[in-house]
Symmetry: C2
Subunit: 218 residues, 2 copies
């Protein structure tokens, strides 16, 4: 057998240059906004291109398919969350009060970002539907669990506290996801407010219970 020359391809991949990265991000942002605005059903590549102020062919230069673009949008959402996690959030000292403050902050956010919240749920369902992309939905949730989990305790270097923080975070997320749908559907603010108070009470109780169990086990 003769020798085989291996050629290293020097061709820059789409999005490698500075301007390339910029355009790629603009397309993702455009997709996000178009999705928040009109929902999944109306989300066409043409609309995305228009929203990103880019020609249709340019969109396809950066993303080989609509599917890969949508998954990139979800990844971008996750990155945003991880970014937000790095920022310090002003919270009370006592863990239970922190949980309460977190839920109240989330609730305020939910009330003024309807399109964004629905878009996020649509994308999550899309990932769950897209074969081979379920891991993305998992990553999204894990990012949220990390985020909320770290905020439960001011100092969670202790392994037990980390575990408890994550358990509480999962329950908070369950409650928040559930209330997003229900509050937008029922459109009854006073009822939703009651539900938020109930959620807060439940989460305080859950945290307290986990702490008691932990203290017993020492």
């Amino acid at each position: 057998m003769g020798e085989t020359a291996i050629t290293i391809r020097a061709k820059t991949a789409p999005g490698a240059t500075r301007k390339g990265v910029e355009t790629r991000n603009r397309i993702i942002k455009g997709a996000r906004e178009a999705l928040e605005e009109g929902g999944m059903e109306a989300l066409t590549t043409r609309r995305i291109a228009a929203s990103a102020d880019v020609k249709l062919a340019t969109l396809h230069y950066y993303f080989e398919s609509k599917e890969s673009l949508l998954l990139a949008v979800l990844e971008d959402l996750i990155a945003d969350m991880e970014e937000a996690y790095r920022q310090d959030v002003a919270l009370p000292k006592a863990p239970e009060d922190r949980v309460e403050a977190l839920i109240r902050a989330s609730w305020r956010y939910i009330q003024r970002t309807r399109g964004k919240q629905i878009a996020q749920q649509e994308l999550t369902l899309y990932a769950l539907r897209t074969k081979g992309s379920e891991w993305l939905a998992a990553r999204q949730y894990n990012a949220y669990i990390d985020f909320y989990g770290h905020l439960v305790f001011e100092d969670d270097r202790d392994e037990d506290l980390r575990r408890i923080g994550r358990a509480v975070a999962r329950q908070m997320l369950i409650g928040i996801d559930g209330i997003i749908l229900q509050s937008y559907a029922l459109q009854d603010l006073s009822t939703s407010n009651d539900d938020i108070e109930a959620l807060i009470t439940a989460m305080r109780g859950y945290l307290r219970r986990l702490m008691v169990e932990r203290d017993k086990g020492r």
Copy 2:
């Protein structure tokens, strides 16, 4: 002015005859199955027609648009729920035990009907996105709240009990919707089971608290 002859149109509307109703229902069922199977993104009128074993033109004879068909599917889902409500469900006597049994039954159902649950959430989001159809999402939730609410107390003729049953039902629904997404995303059964136990404890506590408050107020 002369007299105006008013002609009563005798033309039967689509779906008025016996066979018509049958076909219409078959189309709705076909749409439901196609949706559960492949998700919103892949849900085209052609696929629906094929799934219902009907020609494309027939579909359009019964539904003036894809949108009206999808909304009919959601209405059908609601009707199913109201039908299920009429059936008696075997439940324990004590309200708290009933709540626990309801959550466990829901959880078992969720685990074996992934496609159906995702389809339902996709449709709810679709209704929330479709201008003028938000009321459908509200009706869907109210049907569920009625359903769960009536099951909390064996006898809820008392107005306080009905109110409490509905409050608990709303919280249960929030938890169940939240856990649908999270359990499918995380794909971690032991974690989801923990979350279900936590939800049960929380709901028992909530019900107990509401009952105590009510007793104080007499």
